[in-house]
């Protein structure tokens, strides 16, 4: 199942649907980096609102996405982690360290806009 990636100005928005396989996650990682290069995006938002469980592979892939995109000079924000999912994640030690997070899409965009201003 391919994750849709939308373009909003200098920002790319990838919205997870529930239950992504490992292959889907790998595919997303490649697609996002390619699109960042193609559109010269400055920011990426990964919206995981629909995810009701986060395992270690998904968590690692999200961190890899953030690192790879940073190598292209762009910033990644993960948004929409649900309270129950956040709780389960920290208990498993999956803290998404080094990756910016925000409550939802609106907050994610506000964060990126703020970042763009300070790194102009």
């Amino acid at each position: 199942m391919e994750v849709p990636i939308l373009k909003q100005g200098a920002v790319l928005i990838a919205t997870f649907q529930a239950a992504l396989s490992d292959a889907d996650l790998n595919q997303l990682r490649s697609a996002l980096v390619q699109q960042v290069v193609r559109f010269r995006s400055r920011g990426v938002i990964v919206d995981v609102t629909a995810m009701d469980v986060m395992d270690s592979f998904a968590s690692r892939t999200l961190r890899e996405i953030a690192h790879m995109i940073r190598l292209r000079g762009a910033e990644t924000v993960i948004v929409g982690i649900q309270p129950e999912v956040a709780f389960a994640m920290v208990q498993l030690g999956l803290t998404l360290e080094g990756v910016a997070t925000a409550l939802d899409l609106e907050e994610g965009l506000a964060y990126l806009n703020q970042k763009f201003k300070t790194t102009k």
Partner: protein
């Protein structure tokens, strides 16, 4: 097979007798209840009304030899009388009294036919015991349910999540935190962050005397989970003992934002949110 038919027939005879003498037996029972000073929390009229329901349910259970209706009634009754302060021994007491009153009436009726009396009691006793059991267990289960509910309410009330500014929540923790309360606290906070769209949370633990390693870890996890929802946590009011615990378990203090007291914590939170507090002109 024959024994079972005979038993059922005897029960039918028994039930008929109980129905026929309903008024008189019920009155006798209510009399015994006040004699033994049970159900003092209820008025005479209430006792009479409940006694009627219990008597009828009792007889019905004997007749149908099923106990689900009785169980449901017992729970329902318990729900009503527990808030009135009725105790377990009272409920068990009155059911046993009814059992005695009915047994005595059987002795009286069959006193000339000892053999028949024996057979009737063979049918009556197991059913009567099962009824007493059902009612008592129903009552106790309802009590336990109420206690659990009250404990849950106390836990929630004792840890309010308060919004003091747009995007700023305060969580004052007071008292003893056990792992269960810590978990409940975290869940409440995360829900609060989402509902109030908080960007900063100040967790004040001035009122917490001590914290064991498990709970300290819970605190760290709460901070991390809050970050995943895009909120920064400031912890204030750490006592020297708790500071010691945190250092001992090797908490990465880079991950935890701490400030001395609640006032300082709120001031820092306001700075993070871009607020500046300035005094107005002197009041006249």
């Amino acid at each position: 097979m024959a024994k079972r038919d005979e038993s059922s027939e005897l029960l039918r005879e028994l039930v008929a007798h109980l129905r026929q003498n309903r008024t008189q037996l019920r009155e006798e029972w209510v009399g015994r209840i006040s004699e033994t000073r049970l159900l003092t929390a209820m008025t005479k009229e209430e006792i009479f009304a409940e006694a009627t329901s219990v008597y009828d349910s009792y007889v019905e259970a004997l007749e149908t030899e099923t106990f689900e209706a009785l169980q449901a009634y017992a729970r329902n009754l318990s729900e009503r009388i527990i808030p009135r302060g009725v105790e377990t021994h009272e409920v068990v007491g009155i059911v046993l009294l009814l059992r005695d009153v009915l047994a005595r009436s059987l002795f009286a009726k069959y006193q000339t036919d000892f053999k028949k009396l024996n057979r009737i009691l063979d049918a009556y006793e197991p059913a009567a015991n099962r009824i007493a059991n059902t009612v008592a267990v129903g009552f106790v289960q309802e009590r336990e349910r109420v206690i659990r509910q009250q404990q849950e309410a106390i836990r929630e009330l004792s840890t309010p999540v308060l919004q003091v500014r747009e995007r700023l929540l305060i969580l004052p923790i007071i008292g003893v935190i056990d792992p269960q309360r810590a978990r409940q606290l975290t869940e409440q906070l995360l829900r609060g962050i989402r509902t109030n769209r908080a960007k900063v949370v100040v967790i004040d633990i001035t009122g917490v005397a001590a914290m064991d390693v498990t709970v300290a870890n819970h605190l760290v996890q709460t901070v991390e989970a809050s970050r995943l929802l895009g909120a920064t946590v400031i912890v204030t009011g750490l006592s020297p003992e708790i500071a010691q615990t945190l250092v001992t378990i090797g908490v990465d203090l880079g991950k935890m934002n701490t400030v001395g007291d609640l006032q300082g914590g709120i001031e820092q939170a306001e700075r993070l949110l871009g607020y500046k507090v300035a005094a107005l002109a002197e009041p006249s």
